[in-house]
Symmetry: C2
Subunit: 336 residues, 2 copies
């Protein structure tokens, strides 16, 4: 029988005949407690089925034993995989993961408004969105560490990929195959419309390097997600001269584009090549050529930084993980 | 020093020399407490690093304000969508979601072994796996409520779909189209090999109803996941007489099968029809015919049950949500 739920530190302190602070220090093996006293406290705790270790470890690493992970979209693979990576490391340190999904700007405002009232965590990991200065200030006032996974910051440590390099890997592949009329399905977060996209910058830089003039009609901007990719692809197909290849900002956008192409009776890659970014698990299943980013690993590295921060150790401020071209069956040289 | 993990409302009440109710009201700033008393309670709470507001709201619903969600695979869509549904409801009650991924049996054993030591939550929501009796007993001893999302139980409330009906909807569609040689890509959790699959039962029942004899060579069993679907499909293609249609236990398995068919130069649905179950977001993108299950909604309903349990209200013990056939472009009448 475990009655730990009802046993308090106070009970233990009282029965062991010590103060609360002494009981607490003894339980977490902190200095300043005589060995005999510590033994007595631990014996009482054991007798009452007050289990030391989880509390003890949480006291050792951070004060709450909990890390908040703030994540925009739990039901998208990228965020789930990032979260899985974070959690896999936090678990090894017996830290708990408190989940805060913030699907849109409204959720996010509510979260940050309430946050200062809830010093429930020692660190906050932000998955893939930039904090506003006021949001950041609130976290700092609470004394919690901030780490970004899948996004950059000048103010706190982050783990990400180099999106411009990823984009150039994708564009470089299409240009190498001989494509010169290349469309871009640009994905833009509607909550951050002004944000410069390094994946877009890669498109323009790659064209410039290859002396291919920019045709603004070949660029379609839309929200992230497959349905938007499908719509945008239809727009490119309505051009007098559609592209021979399409560079999509994500695999989901690319898969939407491929659906439009198939429905139009076009073959991928014989008629039009399509490349994405991510290496979504279904990219392998759909034979999509893409640029792989290590998502689970980015999450795990971000969590490593959290552990180091809690231990007061030095941390890397900026970790950039490599991406790589994965050639499958959705790209080929242009027809003719 | 923060010992919040160990300090209880009882400690604070006792040290401040007030009753539990008064301490609780003072901490959550409710009316009916003299200002001097409130100040004393808050001072004690602060001294003990007892954080006021989160507990205050949690005192209203449950004692910890936290709900554990135990989830096998964070990076698979089904689990992420279920989690998002659960969290969307818990958030409205200002309950926090503590995440416990248990990727395999080992993780799961560790989780349940440690659990009794951590009365950190008021309820546990189990996503889509059956608890063993010993696991269930541990939770009950802790006095935490158990709710299953996406799976059934005779012992605690659950929300799920009727997998046998879902399977019959898929099979019925193929049989209606005129297929009689129908393969099954059966997905089995390697950690629960003995478990009867209602999706498989649906296959046999549908064949029987249509007077189609069972050909065991048309059934391939494998783990969940697209790569396994791809492998199993290759086995079906090695038959002297391959099926004209394939019923896959999930969309991911179906997509793997379609990749194998495409690589073999076969057309879907002209040469072979494929149907899945789930309506994974990428099913729409890949024009896969499937049987839709409401995943986010199952999670939300499970969380509703949690809220009712915490309020001591009556709850539905068994909620079964409807599924429906979604016809896209991966199924058609057999050739010839």
């Amino acid at each position: 029988m475990s009655t730990q739920a009802n046993v308090t530190l106070h009970d233990i302190a009282r029965i062991a005949g010590v103060g609360l602070g002494t009981a607490s220090r003894a339980l977490r093996n902190a200095p300043g407690v005589a060995p005999a006293t510590r033994d007595r406290v631990l014996a009482v705790a054991e007798e009452l089925s007050y289990v030391v270790s989880p509390q003890a470890s949480s006291l050792r690493l951070g004060s709450t034993g909990r890390i908040a992970v703030v994540v925009p979209h739990l039901d998208r693979w990228f965020f789930g995989a990032m979260l899985a990576g974070i959690e896999s490391v936090l678990r090894t340190a017996e830290l708990d993961t408190l989940l805060y999904p913030v699907g849109d700007l409204h959720d996010r405002r509510v979260f940050f408004k309430r946050l200062p009232a809830r010093r429930k965590v020692d660190s906050v990991v932000i998955i893939a969105f930039p904090l506003e200065p006021s949001e950041q200030r609130r976290l700092e006032l609470m004394g919690v560490h901030i780490v970004a996974a899948g996004g950059q910051s000048v103010d706190y440590p982050f783990v990400c990929i180099d999106d411009k390099i990823a984009g150039r890997q994708a564009m470089g592949h299409l240009i190498y195959l001989g494509h010169r009329r290349i469309g871009m399905l640009e994905a833009i977060d509607p909550d951050q419309p002004g944000l410069d996209s390094p994946r877009s910058a890669a498109y323009y830089a790659s064209l410039k390097d290859a002396d291919i003039p920019v045709d603004p009609g070949l660029v379609e901007s839309n929200d992230w997600g497959g349905e938007h990719g499908a719509e945008s692809m239809a727009k490119l197909l309505s051009l007098r001269e559609p592209p021979t290849a399409v560079y999509a900002h994500s695999d989901e956008v690319a898969l939407g584009a491929i659906r439009t192409l198939r429905r139009a009776g076009l073959r991928v890659p014989e008629d039009i090549s399509v490349i994405g970014i991510d290496d979504h698990p279904l990219a392998a299943l759909t034979d999509l050529t893409t640029v792989r980013q290590p998502v689970h690993e980015q999450g795990a590295r971000a969590a490593d930084i959290v552990l180091n921060l809690l231990q007061g150790a030095e941390v890397d401020q900026a970790v950039t993980m490599p991406t790589q071209l994965v050639i499958r069956r959705s790209t080929a040289p242009p027809a003719r």
